[in-house]
């Protein structure tokens, strides 16, 4: 080991990649000048709505699409123009794409055979993979004789068998039902831990992204809007799109009344002041600038008039089992939602129409870049 830190060792480096489909007036830019460094052994998720370019980006790493501009480096070497069969990168496809004319074991062996591995090694690796995904008993089944969840495992084992540098997963859980998806999320995390392979995971499911990833890249319209740990992305969304796409959010119009490094004091519509964080790369020039701030529903609660930062009227109370959602009409027009976890000894019972305050937790306010 040299003196490089883990942070400096990149598995995949995406450099200013652009992908345009078609040409002339009908050209569509699917990926727009994206740069992204993916660390070794990292579980990185590309998260975004459909059509945001996340799958195109993944397919360029796999080699199925060639970038219109820019470079992709694997362990420092440019692989942008290598065909997929020359890249030590394997994909788990959304449709699984298992070979229907082969058994489970033959599917898993395929990549190893194509690499020209000796028969004995193939046999050994296939057995290891079957154990890893707990499919040993079904090794001689045809792929149409096993369930969706099992097909998923075979697809994983097939992609992991050649021991790739990077495993690409294109919405692999989207076809599974809720319970199975939950199990597979944990399973995937375990596999990544056990194999030590870098995972790039594509999904439109924010919960999936938050649960499994080391880092999440939120994409929209061909660009990466924010890259960070799940906690970072959730607690400190930098853009309105990110705040909106991930979790529920309250947007507050406010103005900056005091600035102290990355911390600011915001003046809310009610006149009360809260402290808030500035997003990276955003340095508002002046005191008094109007900004939008966000607060997660669970970081606020309803309190008696005079005890909180926002004044309003309770307009609706929705009980959802674990939590209760309080809808508050804030003076100034907007609706604020506070989410409070239910407990057996809940003392205060609020009623609709009551004049109340919303009190926001310390360090729970985040300023948006726009």
């Amino acid at each position: 080991m040299d003196h490089e830190t883990l942070q400096d060792r990149f598995s995949i480096e995406v450099r200013e990649i652009t992908k345009t489909f078609g040409n002339g007036a009908t050209a569509v830019t699917a990926v727009d000048n994206v740069s992204l460094n993916i660390r070794e052994n990292e579980f990185l998720t590309l998260l975004g709505p459909s059509g945001c370019g996340k799958t195109t980006l993944l397919r360029m790493v796999a080699g199925f699409e060639h970038p219109s501009a820019g470079q992709i480096l694997l362990a420092g070497a440019d692989i942008s123009h290598l065909p997929p069969f020359k890249r030590p990168v394997n994909t788990v496809f959304q449709s699984y794409a298992l070979f229907p004319h082969m058994t489970v074991a033959q599917n898993i062996a395929f990549g190893l055979e194509m690499q020209g591995k000796p028969e004995a090694e193939i046999h050994k690796t296939v057995n290891e993979m079957l154990d890893l995904v707990r499919m040993a008993e079904l090794r001689d089944r045809r792929t149409d004789q096993i369930s969706g969840g099992q097909q998923q495992r075979v697809a994983l084992a097939r992609a992991l068998a050649p021991n790739p540098e990077v495993l690409l997963l294109d919405e692999p859980l989207s076809a599974l039902d809720y319970k199975l998806r939950k199990d597979m999320q944990i399973e995937l995390k375990r596999l990544q831990h056990e194999t030590g392979i870098t995972f790039i995971f594509v999904t439109h499911d924010q919960e999936e992204a938050l649960t499994m990833s080391d880092r999440v890249a939120v994409m929209n319209a061909g660009k990466i809007l924010q890259l960070g740990s799940p906690r970072d992305i959730y607690d400190h969304p930098a853009e309105r799109f990110v705040a909106n796409f991930i979790g529920d959010t309250n947007f507050l119009d406010s103005s900056i009344s005091e600035k102290n490094g990355r911390k600011v004091t915001l003046k809310l519509v009610s006149g009360s002041e809260v402290s808030a964080d500035l997003p990276d790369g955003f340095d508002p020039p002046s005191i008094g600038k109007k900004v939008t701030a966000v607060v997660r529903p669970e970081h606020a609660k309803v309190s008696p008039r005079g005890e909180g930062q926002l004044n309003g009227t309770l307009s609706n109370i929705v009980y959802v089992g674990t939590d209760t959602h309080y809808y508050v009409d804030i003076e100034g027009g907007s609706t604020f939602v506070a989410r409070i976890q239910n407990s057996r000894g809940a003392d205060v019972s609020w009623s609709v129409g009551q004049e109340i305050d919303v009190s926001i937790e310390d360090n729970a306010v985040q300023v948006l870049r726009d």
């Binding site: 069969f85 994909t91 794409a97 033959q106 992609a159």
Partner: protein, 311 residues
């Protein structure tokens, strides 16, 4: 397998029997057509092949195995000894060989064509398919004469080659086995393209990506993924080309020039100028048997290939 006991017999069994009867009744029209169009004529042929030829064609109602003996053997007129009928054997061999070559050539041309069509955008596929079927609109004779015009000594190909100075004398292509094969390939090519296209249309091209992803080169993807999965179409196409090639009549007659006969022409000859109906019938049944054996071998052979690998 419980349930075949006498206790459960009555209502269920009776319903089953009625069901069977209805099924027989419903299939009667089909059976009649099948008998009149296939089994009946075949039976007549079988009977004729064991009779003696009439002097002016037709048959004499006297049992004889000469028809069958003459398929591959010939009796010396003066000594009455039997020897191998070289002419018949060479015609048999030419038929099988040319039919196999035709099937292979049609596959070599038809597979890429079907692949090409299947990978076009959905809207334009029907146009390409339409183009493939256009030759069917034109009479077989005219198509065959068109080929003749292309390959004869003063035909299009020879004139172009000579004017370009590539050859000094025309290449003799017409009236050769090559001409017959070209003609049959041209005529039967759509029969290869269409079934292969049908199975390729169902083929999931994402599997090709999966193959590339797993280190398979283009050739390996073709061999290990595309070919095994389009096999039903390839088998169907090959059968559809091989069988009519084996019995082809018009194409070898015109492009082979009468001296390069195929089985179909030989059979035709026996029922015509040859005035040997029993031999013709025996030859026709021989053709049928060759086809059946070839089919059995082929279907069994391809059925085994991919299932033999395991780990």
């Amino acid at each position: 397998m419980a349930g075949n006991t006498a206790i459960e017999d009555n209502p269920v069994e009776r319903a089953n029997r009625a069901d069977v009867r209805a099924r027989w009744l419903l299939s009667t029209p089909a059976l009649i057509v099948l008998f009149c169009a296939a089994s009946g004529p075949l039976l007549i042929m079988l009977i004729y092949s064991f009779l003696e030829p009439g002097d002016y064609g037709g048959i004499e109602w006297a049992f004889s195995t000469d028809g069958w003996v003459n398929v591959v053997l010939q009796r010396d007129i003066f000594e009455g000894t039997l020897s191998l009928a070289d002419a018949h054997v060479s015609i048999l061999w030419r038929s099988v060989r040319l039919s196999l070559l035709t099937t292979l050539t049609a596959f070599a041309l038809g597979f890429p064509t079907a692949y090409f069509i299947a990978t076009r955008p959905r809207e334009s596929r029907s146009i390409w398919l339409f183009l493939v079927t256009i030759p069917f609109w034109i009479n077989l004779l005219i198509r065959t004469f068109a080929i003749m015009e292309l390959i004869r000594n003063k035909g299009v190909i020879n004139i172009i080659l000579m004017s370009l100075g590539i050859i000094d004398e025309p290449i003799q292509m017409l009236f050769t086995d090559f001409a017959i094969m070209v003609g049959m390939t041209y005529v039967y090519l759509p029969l290869m393209v269409l079934p292969i296209y049908a199975s390729m249309e169902k083929f999931d091209f994402r599997l090709v990506e999966a193959g590339y992803d797993l280190y398979a080169s283009r050739f390996k993807v073709l061999k290990r993924i595309i070919l095994p999965l389009t096999k039903p179409g390839i088998v169907a196409g090959s059968i559809l080309v091989f069988i009519p090639s084996l019995g082809a009549y018009v194409t070898p007659r015109i492009l082979g020039g009468g001296k390069n006969m195929m089985l179909g022409n030989l059979i035709g000859l026996q029922f015509g100028q040859g005035r040997n109906w029993p031999l013709g019938a025996a030859l026709a049944l021989t053709l049928l048997m060759i086809v059946m054996v070839a089919l059995l071998l082929y279907v069994r052979g391809v059925g085994k290939t991919e299932n033999n690998r395991g780990h």
